[in-house]
């Protein structure tokens, strides 16, 4: 039942992303709070609802963004997929896993956005996209990754009490 915290938490994160984070730009890039929130959640070993959370994130973000809903959904599901894959393999180094998921997730999400714009008929120069958007966004995402991981670890302990995995 405590998993229902996903709805208010993700709604709040989406509002925060749109109203605050999107205004804090580095060149033309900015952090994706939802992506790192999802990465941090999916990397917690006791969490079994990461796919559900990804769906809720995609739902909220898809409602707000101009990007097609399947693109955002696919991007966030990819984050969960990568996180769960890594979580089983390098569970001894969660921060390394968090950085890796953030890195891969950001690249996948931006690749999908780039492809979506290309298909929609407004192609973006690859150099501009990489230099002005993707790399600055990646840097900001990595900066937010550690505090977000810590927050999600505490949240996972609250949502799944007594199921801590050593």
């Amino acid at each position: 039942m405590r998993n229902l915290i996903a709805f208010p938490l993700i709604a709040l994160a989406v509002i925060f992303q749109s109203a605050v984070i999107s205004r804090i730009t580095l060149l033309s890039g900015y952090a994706d709070l939802l992506l790192i929130l999802l990465a941090g959640w999916a990397l917690q070993p006791q969490v079994r609802s990461a796919w559900h959370w990804a769906f809720v994130v995609a739902l909220f973000v898809g409602y707000l963004t101009k990007l097609p809903w399947p693109v955002t959904a696919l991007g966030y599901f990819a984050v969960v997929f990568v996180a769960q894959m890594l979580q089983r393999r390098i569970w001894q180094a969660p921060l390394l896993a968090m950085f890796t998921v953030t890195f891969v997730g950001t690249m996948v999400m931006h690749l999908l956005s780039y492809a979506a714009l290309f298909v929609a008929g407004s192609p973006v120069p690859l150099g501009d996209a990489l230099g002005f958007v993707t790399l600055p966004s990646l840097l900001l995402n990595l900066l937010f990754a550690i505090p977000m991981y810590t927050f999600m670890r505490d949240l996972a302990r609250w949502v799944y009490p007594g199921e801590e995995v050593e």
């Binding site: 992303q17 749109s18 730009t25 033309s28 890039g29 990007l67 956005s113 407004s122 501009d128």
Partner: protein, 280 residues
């Protein structure tokens, strides 16, 4: 009797001596001696006064520090409160200035009707340049309506829900607007980019475009009303091997600081797609 006489004589002599000394002193005959004497007195008094003052400070200072600390805390609290008030008032002044500019703009363009809205968010994707405003279909906002500030055009309504709407900015990579270069008296197409830079394309090679030329909407295509200010030409790129000239544009609006915008509600975009010839 003899004793009485001798005592009176002594008194008289003493008085005469003291009186004489006094007279001599008043006459300035003892100035060096009196200076030494008064100097010693002053020094002694200074020494005593300093010690007494130090003792007084020692006994009274703790009470003063406590009261000063309390007073300092009071004043600091008051300063904080006043600073908060100043910030609040400054914010109100800024809002009022923006609103006054928007009202002036709407008065100077009476042919349009406007609906003011606050920018409450941006698109979560950094590849797209969209903002969210707090007015929607309940306020008469419809898809395609142009959005402006007192400085110029910022974009048009892309999607609407009951109490909010999404605005595509002219800096968006998918944005494409027919414009008119006032000085060169020629038409062109304005194109956004992922970095937020805006460029002009499709400028005829015959046209003479100079930096500083004003760019207005042309109204062609029916997507925007005509004569809305967009910006100025910064630089022109003209190559003989290309069909058209291109130009870099400085938008009139600062898109990083969008707060309050005006939606032109009496403009309905015209859908000309049925008139566009399609290739068989």
């Amino acid at each position: 009797m003899k004793d009485l006489f001798s005592r009176s004589l002594q008194t008289t002599i003493i008085f005469l001596i003291v009186g004489g000394i006094l007279a001599l002193a008043l006459g300035g005959f003892f100035s060096s001696a009196s200076n030494q004497f008064t100097g010693s007195l002053v020094n002694a008094q200074t020494w005593i006064s300093t010690r007494v003052q130090a003792l007084q400070d020692f006994f009274t200072a703790p009470r003063d520090i406590a009261s000063l600390r309390a007073r300092n805390a009071e004043l600091q609290a008051e300063v904080s409160q006043l600073q908060a008030q100043v910030i609040d008032l400054q914010q109100r002044v800024n809002e009022t200035e923006v609103l006054r500019a928007l009202v002036d703009f709407s008065r100077s363009n009476p042919e349009s009707t406007y609906r003011a809205a606050a920018v409450i968010g941006r698109d979560p994707s950094p590849f797209l340049h969209y903002v969210v405003i707090n007015r929607g279909s309940n306020d008469g906002i419809r898809r395609g309506m142009p959005v402006v500030t007192n400085q110029g055009l910022i974009g048009r309504i892309d999607a609407v829900i009951a109490d909010a709407a999404r605005v595509q900015l002219i800096t968006d990579p998918a944005a494409s607007i027919n414009v008119h270069l006032q000085n060169a008296n020629t038409d062109a197409v304005l194109i956004g980019s992922v970095t937020g830079d805006v460029t002009l394309d499709m400028i005829s090679q015959d046209a003479t475009v100079e930096p500083g030329d004003l760019i207005l909407t042309s109204g062609l295509g029916g997507g925007y009303p005509s004569n809305l200010i967009i910006g100025q030409v910064v630089s022109v790129r003209s190559l003989d091997v290309e069909l058209f000239q291109q130009a870099v544009v400085q938008p009139a609006v600062d898109f990083a600081r969008l707060e309050i915008v005006l939606v032109i509600t009496n403009f309905r975009p015209v859908d000309i797609s049925p008139l566009v010839p399609t290739t068989p």
